[in-house]
């Protein structure tokens, strides 16, 4: 089946977000029974978390209308009865006094923090009027959407309904894009459904390239990771930093940043030359092996040792461990892979290695996405956009996700056509897009900057109109189709009514669409009814769903390859593509080749960034329960480097990048846990928003220092680990 990638992704995007539901009535339904008047009303509401984007099922304990505890829903396969620290701290978000409580309209100039509160009606009317005006003057394509999280779906309908194709997701352009495209070019699909389909608990060897599981707190995956470690799975961690995962590894390869592809190619070299690959699998399911073998011939371990600054014996040994245990080897595909601008080819190398080991569709590797036959809703008939999106052929392998950076470029330059309105839904663009100076320049060109969010982040504080969204604990959303090895449906329903004057995203979008004459694309006022109907169409008992939070559905395919369960590869040939003709057609290497990236000079340090298990990007920095544990980030500096600079542990320093941008002061963590040409920061701090009283001016904003970025020519994503900083001691 020949499916052009762009279409394929657009399709999958629509299906995943296809069913929209509302839950305003559900809370009422739940509370109604309790209004009878017992002294303390205690009830449990199963719903779905959105402290990050894993979407674990949880059960909220509500006493007298107040959420007192959040527990994992034991029935939900993404949480299995457990919630991480952020999930537990949802209560902190719900009752954060710094939340956006009502709509605001900008009073002064952008960014001066002067807002006047407005009624919903006024704010919605003004927004709709502005959107209509911009659409009339510049065309509907001049309206762009940046979204992250469930609510984005509703605004996507609105923007598409208006006739704009410019819908973008930082989660693609700044995060998973390269990986998805790399694996799609190889297997015809991304390695993730609801989550990365890594079968860790059955792996004999787990290989993490930069993935810092444990600090990267993705619930189910970390549960599986801990289980695998306890079961004695051999762990190989490739990371310039001694992460928590590295601390559990049998082999920690402290690789020189930028050279991961060299390591991967030399592993492939060893595995092929020593015949350690799954020959049967390769013969049956792959094409292009000969070209692959030829291309990697030059990438010997000795060569790779020089590039990676690892020892040749370590490279050979780990390659042999990987090969010897095929197919039960998990090459974790990673998640945030936008590093150096050559990341799609690195993802290709990882995908190719996975294929050689025969681990796609095998135990301990990547399980096959389950097929759950659910009746599809008819796709809404959105109007055809008059002009294509601003990427327009610039990055042919980007599908329906759009490119945030391309939209920003168009906004600044006016080419191919001006973008005059940005709608930000649950995304803090100033901390998300590289080079915030450009983001500010782009914002300066806009006639409208609209923010829909729960918290007053830095980006929200630039907006012309702020619309306060209810948190996930106060609203209903679409039914979630959860795909682990099994599949099921999960429901999000309000645990409490919306606090203050916040409203669910579906309601905000609906109200705007009513005023834009787009009611047919909006959610019905009776969200619950549609939800119920949808569940019934899928053969699910709605009452059971609201009671249990998750109902499994039958799957028609299994996770592992067997004679009766054959994998389907959505590539042109129907086989796994080791040497990609498609890439060659577009002028790229059919088999990944190694490209060196520039290294920092002496006295400079490459800026690396990562995650804290207690925080989600910049979203949670102000959460009282999380802020009290981790209120600011620290800059990790190698001990030897620090003593050369005379910096003591705990001293305050400033970071200055290659473009002269100077950071706020930040505490130094002098450590042995890092290569000495790197520094490391946890992302998401250094907020400039004075309304975030706990997060304001705490720590340093790494994104501010990421003014240089390398755009990957294949997937268009922005590689952001290409900035070099010097360190200044505080006077």
């Amino acid at each position: 089946m020949a499916v052009n990638r762009r279409d394929f992704l657009k399709l999958s995007a629509t299906v995943a977000g296809g069913s929209m539901l509302a839950g305003g009535g559900i809370a009422g339904m739940l509370m109604a029974g309790d209004r009878g008047g017992a002294a303390a009303t205690v009830h449990s509401v199963p719903t779905v978390c959105e402290m990050c984007f894993w979407k674990c099922g949880l059960i909220a304990r509500v006493v007298n209308g107040r959420v007192v505890k959040l527990d994992g829903n034991p029935l939900h396969p993404q949480s299995r009865g457990k919630l991480c620290g952020r999930g537990q701290a949802g209560i902190g978000l719900l009752y954060d006094p710094d939340r956006l409580k009502r709509p605001f309209i900008r009073g002064g100039v952008r960014g001066d923090g002067r807002y006047r509160p407005a009624s919903w009606n006024e704010a919605l009317e003004i927004t709709a009027d502005k959107l209509k005006a911009i659409s009339a003057k510049y065309g509907p394509e001049s309206i762009a959407l940046f979204s992250h999280g469930t609510s984005g779906d509703y605004f996507r309908s609105m923007v598409k309904g208006m006739g704009s194709p410019n819908i973008t997701f930082p989660s693609f352009s700044q995060c998973v894009g390269a990986r998805n495209v790399g694996y799609e070019l190889t297997f015809g699909e991304s390695p993730a459904s609801s989550c990365e389909r890594v079968d860790l608990t059955r792996s004999k060897v787990i290989v993490l390239i930069g993935t810092h599981l444990g600090e990267n707190m993705h619930n189910t995956q970390v549960q599986d990771f801990a289980e695998a470690v306890a079961n004695g799975a051999r762990l190989i961690v490739v990371d310039p930093r001694f992460s928590t995962a590295a601390a559990k590894a049998h082999s920690w390869l402290p690789i020189r940043p930028g050279s991961d592809t060299a390591l991967l190619l030399s592993w492939i070299n060893v595995i092929i030359s020593e015949g350690l690959y799954d020959k049967e699998y390769v013969a049956r399911y792959t094409e292009g092996f000969a070209e692959l073998a030829q291309t990697v011939r030059e990438y010997t371990p000795a060569w790779a040792a020089r590039e990676t600054d690892l020892s040749e014996s370590q490279i050979i040994e780990t390659a042999r461990q990987i090969g010897a245990n095929s197919p039960n080897v998990c090459i974790h595909p990673g998640r945030h892979t936008s590093w150096y601008g050559n990341d799609t080819q690195r993802a290709r190398a990882m995908a190719i290695l996975t294929a050689l080991l025969g681990s796609w569709g095998r135990e301990g590797g990547i399980w096959l996405a389950p097929s759950a036959p659910l009746a599809k809703s008819p796709a809404p008939e959105f109007p055809e956009a008059a002009r294509p999106d601003v990427i327009a052929g610039g990055y042919p392998f980007v599908g329906g996700e759009g490119l945030t950076n391309a939209v920003r470029d168009a906004t600044i330059s006016g080419n191919p056509y001006p973008i005059k309105a940005w709608i930000m839904v649950g995304t803090n663009l100033l901390h998300t897009l590289p080079d915030p100076r450009q983001t500010m320049a782009a914002i300066g060109k806009l006639d409208l900057l609209l923010a829909i969010d729960v918290m007053p982040t830095d980006s929200v504080m630039q907006a012309d109109i702020i619309l306060p969204e209810s948190s996930y604990l106060e609203r209903a959303d679409d039914l979630f189709v959860v795909k682990q090895k099994e599949a099921g449906i999960a429901i999000r329903q309000p645990a409490v009514s919306p606090l203050h004057e916040s409203k669910p995203g579906w309601w905000i979008a609906r109200e705007l669409m009513l005023r834009l004459g787009l009611e047919k694309f909006a959610q019905p006022a009776n969200f619950e009814q549609k939800l119920k109907a949808k569940a019934e169409k899928w053969g699910i008992n709605f009452a059971a769903l609201t009671k249990n939070g998750y109902i499994p559905v039958r799957t028609t395919s299994g996770p592992y390859i067997s004679e009766s369960n054959q994998p389907v590869f959505g590539t042109k040939s129907g086989k796994i593509v080791l040497a990609s003709a498609e890439l060659r057609e577009h002028g790229f290497d059919a088999v990944p080749r190694y490209e060196k990236v520039p290294q920092p000079e002496t006295g400079q340090f490459r800026l690396l960034y990562g995650r804290s298990p207690l925080h989600t990007f910049s979203r949670t920095a102000n959460n009282p329960q999380l802020n009290e544990l981790v209120s600011e980030n620290e800059v990790w500096i190698n001990s030897a480097a620090a003593s050369r600079l005379g910096i003591g542990h705990g001293a305050y320093v400033r970071l200055v990048n290659q473009d002269g941008v100077r950071s706020n002061r930040v505490r130094a963590k002098v450590t042995q846990r890092l290569r000495d040409e790197c520094i490391y920061l946890v992302h998401g701090f250094g907020s400039t928003s004075p309304w975030l009283t706990k997060a304001h001016n705490k720590g340093v904003n790494d994104q501010q220092l990421i003014t240089r970025y390398a755009v990957d020519p294949i997937s268009g994503i922005t590689g952001m680990r290409v900035n070099f900083v010097t360190i200044e001691k505080e006077a």
């Binding site: 544990l629 981790v630 450590t671 042995q672 846990r673």
Partner: protein, 328 residues
């Protein structure tokens, strides 16, 4: 070694701080009371006096003692976080809790002190007593004075030693966890009691007597203090670490180093002054320069006792059986 710990309580990290100057002050006043009790008993038990007037010495001391103790206990009460529950101390006796023993003992000392104090009072003082029944009581108790003095002596020892026992019972606080601590506290208590007696005694002979007593006590105190430090030094690592603040002149531990320095001036200084006092051939009353000298040395002793209590209460909370310095 790099350590990051999340979930620390400020009351216990970076070190314990639950007891402050209020507790230290109580320990000082409690010790002072104990010493006063013992000294006043000793003064009135000595057999080389014939007349009651001569015998009855330090009559104000036994009556001041309960006031001192009451002030001390007031500060202790201030330290309680849940004051309204204070009566629970007296609803139970916890057999292994020195604090429980102490709470009952503190109650028990008052009647002993007061009764003894009344029994020692010379008849000339009876008109000064506020109530008639007190005068009668005093008269009744007078023949029992020796017995009461013995009881007062014993209670004084117990009071002087129990605070040391209490602190030394905490295995988690290595600085305190020494068999010598109760001994040190007792000697310090007796010494400060003697110093108070010196200041308060009306008779020069009594003053001189307590001076001599105090010399012995001070020697013993210095000996025990050194013994305490040496004992910790030669004990486990936690104990060695516990005495480190006293020898650390960094800004963080400066007060402790200062306290050692002061003690090594104050205590021997007091001894020297006292030797001078007892060497001088006292003909006639001790007045003028000699008196000032005597009072000064007594004051030095009291200051020394205060420093010891404060230093030990605060430094003890710095010490712990810390586990974060090593990886297992």
């Amino acid at each position: 070694m790099e350590t990051t710990i999340l979930g620390l309580n400020s009351a216990t990290f970076p070190h314990l701080h639950i007891w402050d100057w209020r507790v230290a002050l109580y320990l000082f006043l409690g010790g002072l009371t104990a010493g006063a009790m013992v000294m006043s008993s000793v003064a009135n038990l000595r057999k080389d006096k014939s007349s009651l007037k001569e015998k009855a010495c330090c009559v104000r001391l036994p009556l001041i003692a309960p006031l001192l103790l009451a002030v001390g206990m007031f500060f202790l009460f201030l330290d309680l976080e849940n004051k309204k529950n204070m009566f629970w101390f007296y609803m139970t006796l916890q057999p292994l809790s020195p604090m429980s023993w102490g709470s009952w003992a503190l109650l028990a000392v008052y009647p002993v002190m007061i009764l003894f104090g009344l029994s020692v009072l010379p008849e000339e003082f009876y008109p000064r007593l506020p109530f008639a029944f007190l005068k009668r009581l005093a008269a009744t108790l007078q023949p029992q004075m020796r017995r009461l003095a013995a009881a007062n002596f014993v209670m004084g020892i117990l009071l002087g030693v129990y605070t040391g026992v209490l602190l030394s019972s905490y295995v988690a606080r290595p600085l305190w966890n020494s068999a010598l601590l109760p001994v040190l506290f007792l000697i310090s208590a007796l010494s400060s009691g003697a110093a108070l007696a010196i200041i308060m005694a009306k008779q020069d002979k009594a003053k001189l007597f307590f001076t001599k007593v105090d010399i012995w006590l001070l020697f013993a105190e210095i000996f025990v203090l050194v013994g305490l430090f040496y004992g910790h030094y030669s004990s486990t690592e936690a104990h060695r670490e516990a005495i480190m603040p006293f020898f650390d002149i960094s800004s963080q531990h400066f007060p402790y180093a200062i306290s050692i320095i002061l003690l090594s001036i104050v205590l021997p200084g007091a001894i020297v002054l006292k030797f001078l006092e007892v060497r001088v051939d006292h003909e006639g009353p001790i007045v003028g320069r000699a008196k000032t000298q005597m009072i000064t040395s007594a004051a030095l002793v009291l200051v020394g006792a205060l420093i010891i209590r404060f230093a030990i209460v605060y430094a003890g909370q710095l010490s712990s059986l810390s586990r974060y310095t090593s990886i297992y």
